[in-house]
Structure formats: C-alpha cells, structure tokens
C-alpha cells in the first residue's frame, strides 16, 4: 500500500535507505545480521586508485553523542576491488555504489573509469570531502573551483549516475553544491564528517594518531539537517541526506528537509540491523500519517 520507491534521476531505489561509505564495509560484514536486498542501496568503502594503508592506530575516539575517526581511506585500491571484491558482492539484489576517493584528479578519473566498466555498479559517489587524508580529499570539497574541476574531469569518463559527496567544513555549502551541479553531477550526498579533535587530558595526547579526524553520529545531525535544507533550496538535482541518522524518525526529518534518500553510517556500528529497522519505521510512519508515496515527504517541511 505504501510506496517507498524513490528515483535519483535514472537511479531507482526500492526505498530511500542506503548505507554510508566506510561504515558498511562491502556489505559482507552485515550479511549475518540483515538481508541486504531489503535496502535501497549500499555504499561500499572509500576506494582509491592505489592501495592505501590508512592512518596509524589509534583511529577512533568516542565523543558526546558521536565519534571521531581517522581511518584515512584504508583500502586495497580499485584494481583489487574490481578483480576480487566486485565478483563477491555483485549478486546483491540492491544498488551497489562505490565511494571514489583520491588525492589528485587523475586518480579520481582513473578510478571512476574503471568502475564505469562494472555492470552491476549503477553509480559512484565521488568523495571530495574526506577530512582524513593529508593530500586531496577534503581540499577538493572546500572550494568551488576545485570541486568543479574534479567533477568535470570525472564526468568525462563516468557515464552512469554520478553522486558527489559534499564536505560540511565549508562556509557556504550551497555554493559547492551549485558548482558540482553545473558540472553535471546527477545528485549530491551530504554530509561527510565534520573536522574535529579529541584530547586525553590525563596523558595530554590527542586521541587520534592524526590529531584531527572526522566527527559523525547524532551530534552532527542538526548541522547535517540544516545543510540538506539549504542545498534543497539551492539546487535542482536530488539530495541524499546523512549525518547522525539513528532511527526512522531521524530519516524522516532528513527527507522532510529535502533529501530524496538517506544514508546510515555510524548507527550501523551500534545496531547492525538498524538499516532494515529504519525501512520498517518509515513504512510505519507513512501508514500512520497516511502518506502514500515516500516522495510526497521530500522537502515537505512546513516553514510557512
């Protein structure tokens, strides 16, 4: 009776619930807990042109209603992904999106081009917002011109759905969103992590090997919601909202603020079944509020 399907342009999701890159492994880590085919899509780990070791331990610190991470895009590189991981996971009956990260534009372009060849990957999420790598990463996402140029170049080689993941560590996120829209991004996802830091007052040392790291979890939700709403009012491409979603209520809030779909990140660590619970919760909300299509809720916040 209720219709949960959403379209991000050409990309059809059976429901608006996806997973956030870097928090859901390659999906396999969750097979014991949930039926992955019940999700709208999964975003696999940040993938780079070459193998990356990531940052040294410690990489994580708990913070009030959240956590900092400094994983630093540890992954075996796009070739390994295509040859070894893709064949293992391409049977999933859901959209598999690869989160593409890089340090220089060519890396993004080459990685995207390789993933363009993978039949069962209908979209990539271009990560121009990772705060945990020294070169590149977030730097691309914090100026309009560099964000535009990486999207422009990737757009030339990547023919399917191109989602661009925005950084919240900017003065005006709408400027960046408009810049990537102008270069042909099919959708934007936001937010990546906020740059933060934690210190152990007893040892007087930072809690992360990299000193600063990326903040995620419910603590960032108010900022993420605000940015989704701002971007909703600034661009015409669909928005994927994320940042601190812990339950269906949070997911609905993002949709009301303007997100066509949402991603769940940190919450997966606390409840590995949370994604399917959120799908259920959205259904219940729609029944209770007599909403037929979940698309009727997108941006439906009443600000008078």
């Amino acid at each position: 009776m209720v219709n949960l399907e959403v379209k991000l342009k050409d990309l059809i999701l059976k429901n608006p619930v996806m997973t956030a890159s870097g928090t859901f492994g390659y999906g396999e880590e969750f097979e014991d807990f949930i039926d992955i085919s019940q999700l709208g899509g999964i975003l696999v780990k940040g993938t780079t042109r070459h193998h990356r070791e990531g940052n040294p331990y410690p990489r994580m610190a708990e913070t009030p209603s959240g956590m900092l991470n400094a994983v630093g895009l540890q992954n075996k590189g796009v070739e390994y992904f295509c040859d070894n991981i893709y064949p293992r996971i391409n049977h999933y009956n859901t959209n598999i999106l690869v989160n593409v990260s890089g340090s220089v534009i060519e890396d993004y372009v080459e990685t995207a081009a390789m993933i363009n060849e993978l039949d069962k990957i209908p979209a990539i999420e271009l990560n121009i917002s990772c705060p945990n790598v020294k070169e590149g990463g977030m730097a691309f996402g914090t100026s309009c011109s560099s964000a535009a140029s990486v999207v422009r170049e990737v757009r030339k080689v990547y023919k399917k759905h191109l989602m661009v993941k925005l950084s919240p560590n900017v003065t005006d996120i709408t400027e960046i969103a408009k810049a990537v829209e102008a270069e042909g991004a099919d959708s934007v996802s936001l937010i990546n992590t906020l740059l933060g830091m934690a210190i152990d007052s007893e040892t007087r040392k930072p809690l992360l090997s990299t000193v600063t790291g990326g903040l995620s979890g419910p603590c960032v939700k108010p900022v993420a919601l605000r940015m989704v709403w701002q971007v909703f009012n600034a661009v015409n491409i669909p928005i994927v909202g994320l940042g601190g979603i812990m339950n269906a209520k949070d997911a609905i809030e993002f949709i009301l603020a303007g997100a066509s779909a949402i991603q769940i990140g940190t919450a997966n660590f606390i409840d590995p079944q949370i994604t399917v619970k959120v799908v259920e919760g959205i259904k219940e909300y729609m029944i209770r509020h007599q909403v037929e299509n979940v698309t009727d809720l997108i941006g439906a916040i009443k600000t008078q």
């Binding site: 870097g22 928090t23 859901f24 492994g25 880590e29 969750f30 014991d32 807990f33 780990k45 070791e53 990531g54 040294p56 331990y57 410690p58 990489r59 994580m60 610190a61 708990e62 913070t63 009030p64 209603s65 959240g66 956590m67 991470n69 994983v71 540890q74 979890g217 419910p218 940190t266 997966n268 660590f269 606390i270 409840d271 590995p272 079944q273």
Partner: protein
C-alpha cells in the same frame, strides 16, 4: 560462524572486589559454538556518555545453562554502568566476535594474565585442558586485594599469583615468577601492553610460540569500520576480525 545480535538477561552478578565483577548473562536461544579468545560487544544503555558498544572478552561459556560469563573491570562510565545492572535486566550483545587462541595438543601451556586481561584465560584454560594440555596460569596483580577468582583455574591446572607489593604469591611481575624456570611449549597472554610485551620477549628468548590478545579501541567489533587496526607485518589489519588474538610473530613487537 554466524554473528548474532541478541538480548541477554542478567542472571547473576558477583563482585570480586571494589572494581571487578563477573556477570552471567543468559541467552534466549541456544548459544552457538564459541571459541576461547572471542569477545562480545555490549550495548550500555541509560547513560549520557556511552555512545558506542563496549567490547568484553568471553570469560566462560556454560552451554547447558545457555550462559556467557563476563569478567569486567570498572574503568569508566560504561563499565561502571554494567556494574549497576540488576538481575533480570536486559543486555543487548553482538557476538561471537573475533578469532581465537590456538589450541595445541598434549603440550605444556603457560597462561599469563594481568588486570582484566585474565578475562579470556579461564575459558582458554578449559579448552587447553580438554585438548590434553598441561595448563599453568600466572596472574599478575598489584596486591592481594586484586587476586580474585583463583579457584576456578584450579580445575584446569596450576595457578600462581604475583603481586607488586608481595602481599600474596611471589613479589614482582608475572614474567619474574619462578615457575618460568620450567620449560613450556606455548604461552598465551592478555593484559596491559607492557606486560604482554614482556611475555612476548620471554617467549622469544625461549623460542616458543606466544599468542597475545589485544584490546584496541573499537567502534563496530565486526570489521565494518577499520578503526581497530594494529600494525602487523602484513600492514594494518583489524583487531576485531583477524584478532584480537595474534601470534607475536605477526606483530611488529
């Protein structure tokens, strides 16, 4: 081994000393096969500051009663809250997680634990004995007050204690205990890193295999976040899936 997320019920709680306690939690469904060295990740509810789950070693398993025992040292808000659980309370647990200690056969095994590092050793001792090994356990603590729960080890072999203040057992660190003059075939250890490193050094000097259990901070506990890595000869690998038990040869110690 399929990982599960389940509500357990607190069935029994025993304070060993001021800051240490054992809780028995009962599963609602029959327990799967659990290996020594594996751990659980528990959700600490009703606190302002524990956002993530807390990893805890599996101290013992009673398949008949469907019970897992957890041995917990209070060090912060999460573990303190676990200490306040009442009988009948629910505890949400993700388990069983991680790899396991190796179980040799018919060998002379030495187990060394310090602080809450003894947690996985009891269940390990049982498995070692079941496989026909001779089990010697040394527990290193600060003073007699902390030398708790020694009896259960006796059913699997010998148990010795070292205390820093000499108030019970031999004075000093566990790696200084006189029983180390005997010849062992394997060492297994869990506890503070300096102690484990000393055990590793001892084992290397004697040229015997040594397995340590790391307690890296974790966000997920099942391989999804890559936060818990340790630097090994194969690069950064996850403590929660490829550990927590490592042969010291894999580590850069």
């Amino acid at each position: 081994m399929k990982k599960l997320v389940q509500d357990f019920e607190v069935l029994h709680k025993e304070e060993l000393n001021d800051g240490t306690f054992v809780i028995d939690v009962k599963a609602s469904a029959p327990l799967p096969d659990i290996k020594p060295g594996q751990f659980v990740n528990v959700l600490v509810e009703n606190t302002a500051n524990t956002f993530l789950r807390r990893p805890l070693s599996i101290h013992f398993v009673d398949y008949e009663k469907n019970i897992i025992k957890l041995y917990i040292k209070k060090i912060g808000e999460g573990t303190a809250k676990l200490g306040e659980l009442l009988l009948g309370d629910k505890l949400n647990i993700v388990f069983p997680l991680g790899n396991q200690y190796s179980i040799p056969k018919n060998s002379k095994t030495l187990l060394i634990g310090g602080g809450c590092g003894v947690a996985p050793l009891l269940y390990l001792a049982k498995h070692l004995k079941d496989a026909g090994n001779e089990v010697t356990t040394i527990l290193g603590v600060r003073s007699a007050y902390d030398a708790v729960e020694l009896d259960p080890y006796k059913q699997y072999g010998r148990i010795f204690v070292t205390t820093e203040d000499g108030s019970i057992g031999e004075k000093g660190y566990p790696t200084q205990h006189s029983v180390l003059n005997e010849k062992f075939d394997y060492t297994f250890t869990c506890g503070p890193e300096p102690m484990m490193k000393a055990v590793a050094a001892y084992s290397k000097s004697k040229n015997i295999p040594c397995e340590v259990s790391l307690e890296n901070t974790m966000a997920c506990g099942f391989g999804a976040c890559l936060c818990c890595v340790t630097d090994t000869k194969r690069g950064n690998i996850c403590t929660c899936t490829e550990g927590p038990v490592f042969n010291i040869n894999e580590l850069k110690w």
